[in-house]
C-alpha cells in the first residue's frame, strides 16, 4: 500500500499546477474526464510491470529534458509523393507551412476548431478509443495526453482519399515539450494513407485514435527522425469494424527514448490488422520500446505483428506484445514476431511476447529471437567479393525486410529502405 500511496502522491504533485487547455464545448469535458482518469490510475513508474523494461521517469517529469537540435542532411521524406502536408513545429500547427487542407475524400480540421463545434463527429472518438484501450492494461500517459493535448488534427475520410495526408513534425526548439492528439475516422468503405514524419520535439507525447468503419482501410507509415536526444511516447488506438483493414509501419532512427504503443481492438468480423516496426539504434543512449496489444473480439479476423530491431554499441530494444482472443472470436489468425539483430555483445533486447486465448478454434503463433549476423551468410556474400561492411549492411537490410514488406506502397517502402541503407552506411 505504501507504494501505491507514494505513486498517488507523486501523481498529485506532478499534476498540481496543471491547467487544462481550453477545449471549448465537448473538449473540456473530455479533458476533465481524462485528467480524472490519470489521477485515479496514477502516473507510471519503473516499478510498474508494464514499464519494467523502460523507465518512464523522463516522460513523466514536469519539465522535458533538453534535446539538442539535429541537422538532418537527408532532407524531408516523401517529397515526391503528392500529399496533403500538415506541419507542426514543436507541436504547434503551422498553417503557412502546411498545404490547403481540402482534398477529395478528406475533411481535415485543427483539433481546437473541431472542439469548438458542439455537434462534431470527433466527439465520439476523441478520448473514447483511448478510454477503451485502458483495459485490461492502464496507459496513464495516453490519458494524460487526452487531457493536455495542445494541438492536433481530426481527419474524416469519406471516400477513397485522393492523396495521403502527411503529418510533419518539425523540431526547432531544444526545450520543446509537445503534446499532440490526432483523430481519424474512416467511414464505411473509405480509404486513406496517413504519413507521419519528423522528430517533433525534445519530448513528444502523441496520441492517435483511428476509428475504421466497416470495409474501411487505413494505411499508416511513420518515420521517427534522427535527433539523438529526443524522447517520445506515442499511442495509437484503433478500432476495426467488419472487413476493415489497418496497416501500420514505423521506422525509428536514433532517439534516447522512444515508447511506441499500439492498441488494436478488432470488433467486426473479417477484419485485418497489421502492425509492424523497425528501429535502428547505435550506442548506450538508444532505447526503443514497442508495446502492442491486439484484442480479437470478432470472428475470422487476422492480426499480424512484425517488429525488427537493429542494435549496436550498447543499444537497448524492448518489445511487449500481446494477442488477446476473446470468447467467441473463432477463426482468429494471430501472428507475432519480434526479433533483434545484435551487432555486438553490449546491446540488449528485452522481449515479452504474450498470447491469451479464450476461443478454441484459432491459429495463433508468436516468436521472438535475438541474434548476431549469420556468419555463413556473411561468408557467402564476402566470397562473392562484397566487402565485410557492405555484406553486413545487406544482411541487416535482409533482417529488416520482413517488417518493411508490411508497407503496401512500394514507393514509400523504397524510400524508407534508402534511408535505412544510409543509416547503416553511416553507422558501420
Amino acid at each position: 500500500m505504501a507504494l501505491a500511496k507514494l505513486k498517488m502522491d507523486a501523481t498529485q504533485a506532478r499534476l498540481a499546477d496543471v491547467v487544462l487547455p481550453d477545449g471549448a464545448a465537448w473538449g473540456n469535458a473530455a479533458r476533465a474526464d481524462a485528467l480524472a482518469r490519470v489521477q485515479a490510475m496514477g502516473l507510471p513508474t519503473k516499478r510498474d510491470e508494464y514499464w519494467k523494461y523502460t523507465d518512464p521517469a523522463s516522460l513523466v517529469a514536469h519539465d522535458a529534458p533538453k534535446a539538442a537540435l539535429f541537422h538532418n542532411d537527408e532532407g524531408p521524406l516523401f517529397t515526391a509523393v503528392d500529399r496533403v502536408r500538415v506541419v507542426f513545429v514543436d507541436g504547434v500547427f503551422d498553417a503557412d507551412a502546411s498545404d490547403d487542407l481540402r482534398a477529395e475524400g478528406l475533411e481535415i480540421e485543427r483539433l481546437s476548431d473541431a472542439m469548438k463545434t458542439d455537434i462534431h463527429w470527433a466527439k465520439d472518438v476523441y478520448g473514447v478509443l483511448e478510454t477503451r484501450g485502458q483495459t485490461p492494461v492502464a496507459r496513464p500517459l495516453a490519458a494524460l495526453n487526452t487531457a493536455l493535448a495542445t494541438d492536433g488534427v481530426v481527419i474524416r475520410v469519406t471516400g477513397k482519399a485522393s492523396k495521403p495526408v502527411n503529418l510533419i513534425y518539425l523540431h526547432q526548439d531544444e526545450n520543446s515539450d509537445a503534446i499532440l492528439h490526432n483523430v481519424v475516422k474512416v467511414e464505411a468503405g473509405a480509404e486513406v494513407t496517413l504519413l507521419e514524419t519528423g522528430p517533433a520535439a525534445a519530448r513528444f507525447s502523441k496520441a492517435l485514435e483511428v476509428d475504421i468503419a466497416d470495409g474501411g482501410t487505413f494505411h499508416h507509415v511513420r518515420a521517427q527522425g534522427r535527433d539523438h536526444e529526443r524522447r517520445a511516447v506515442t499511442h495509437c488506438f484503433a478500432r476495426l469494424g467488419a472487413a476493415a483493414t489497418f496497416k501500420s509501419f514505423t521506422l525509428t532512427f536514433n532517439g534516447v527514448l522512444t515508447r511506441n504503443e499500439c492498441i488494436l481492438e478488432i470488433v467486426g468480423n473479417d477484419a485485418v490488422a497489421h502492425v509492424a516496426g523497425a528501429c535502428v539504434g547505435d550506442g548506450k543512449d538508444f532505447h526503443h520500446d514497442d508495446t502492442v496489444f491486439v484484442t480479437h473480439d470478432a470472428v475470422n479476423c487476422e492480426s499480424r505483428q512484425v517488429f525488427k530491431k537493429v542494435l549496436r554499441n550498447g543499444a537497448t530494444g524492448v518489445f511487449q506484445g500481446k494477442i488477446l482472443v476473446k470468447p467467441g472470436a473463432q477463426k482468429t489468425d494471430g501472428y507475432q514476431i519480434s526479433q533483434a539483430l545484435l551487432l555486438d555483445d553490449d546491446s540488449q533486447f528485452l522481449a515479452k511476447p504474450e498470447l491469451e486465448i479464450y476461443a478454441d478454434d484459432v491459429a495463433c503463433s508468436h516468436g521472438s529471437t535475438s541474434g548476431a549476423i549469420d556468419e555463413t551468410a556473411l561468408f557467402y556474400l564476402r566470397s562473392r567479393g562484397v566487402s565485410h561492411n557492405e555484406a553486413r549492411n545487406l544482411l541487416t537490410l535482409s533482417f529488416v525486410a520482413e517488417a518493411l514488406e508490411e508497407i503496401a506502397d512500394d514507393t514509400l517502402a523504397d524510400e524508407l529502405r534508402d534511408r535505412l541503407e544510409g543509416w547503416l552506411s553511416r553507422h558501420s
Binding site: 556474400l381 566470397s383 562473392r384 567479393g385 562484397v386 535482409s398 525486410a401 518493411l404
Partner: protein
Amino acid sequence: MLEIKGLKVKLAEEDKQILKGVDLSIAPGMVHAIMGPNGSGKSTLSYVLSGKGGYEVTGGSATLEGADLLAMEPEDRAAAGLFLAFQYPVEIPGVGNMTFLRTAVNAQRKARGEDELSAGDFLKEVRAKAKDLKIDAEMLKRPVNVGFSGGEKKRNEILQMAMLEPKMCILDETDSGLDVDAMKLVSEGVNALRSTGRSFLVITHYQRLLDHIKPDVVHIMADGRIVKTGGPDLALEVENNGYADILAEVA
C-alpha cells in the same frame, strides 16, 4: 594458377586436424576433380581456400597466380579471381537476386580498380547469361535463393560464376541434390565457362558429374591428404570398385 603445398588445417575451436598436408597444383585452363569418402577433408579444402572462418592453418601454403591466398580476406580472394560454388547456397531474404549480383560484380570491379558496370550493361549481360542457364526474369527478381529448388540454387551459383568471370573456380559438390536434367544444365553452364585462362577444381562424391564436366586430372582424397592422382579413368575406377580398394592400395 593454383599452387597448394603441404597445407595443414585444423578446426579453430577444437584440436582436430582436418587437412594433413595437401599438395595440389592446377595449371591454367585445367579441370581437376577431387573425389573421396565422407570426412576426407574435400569441403574443408574448398572453405580454407576461399577464406571461411573456423579453421586454422597450421602449415603449408596456397597461392593463386603467386599471390598468398591464405593472407587475404575472403572478398580480396574473390577479387583476385577465386570463386567457390557452394554445396549449400545461402538464402538471403529481402535482398533481390539482381541487387546481390550487381553488388558483387561492382564490388569486384571496384577492388580491381575498374569502372562499375552501368545498369543497362549489367542488365543486358545478366539476361543473356541467365537465359543460357534457363533462369527466368522472375527468378532474378526474387530474393537470393529464397524458395529456390535445389536445382535453381545450383544454377544460380553458376550464374554468379558466369557474371563474376573468376580465374579459379571451385565447385563444392555441385551435383548434390540435382536430378539428371538439372545436372546436365549446370554442367553445360560450367563447360561454357571453360577456357584456357580459367581453371576448375570440381569436388564430388560421384563419377556421374564427371561424365558431364570432363576432368583433366582426378585426385582421390582420404584422411586429409591426396592419396592418389590419375587421369579420368581414376574416377571410373572409383565408380566401379568404390574407395576401399584404392585406400587399401595406398595404405
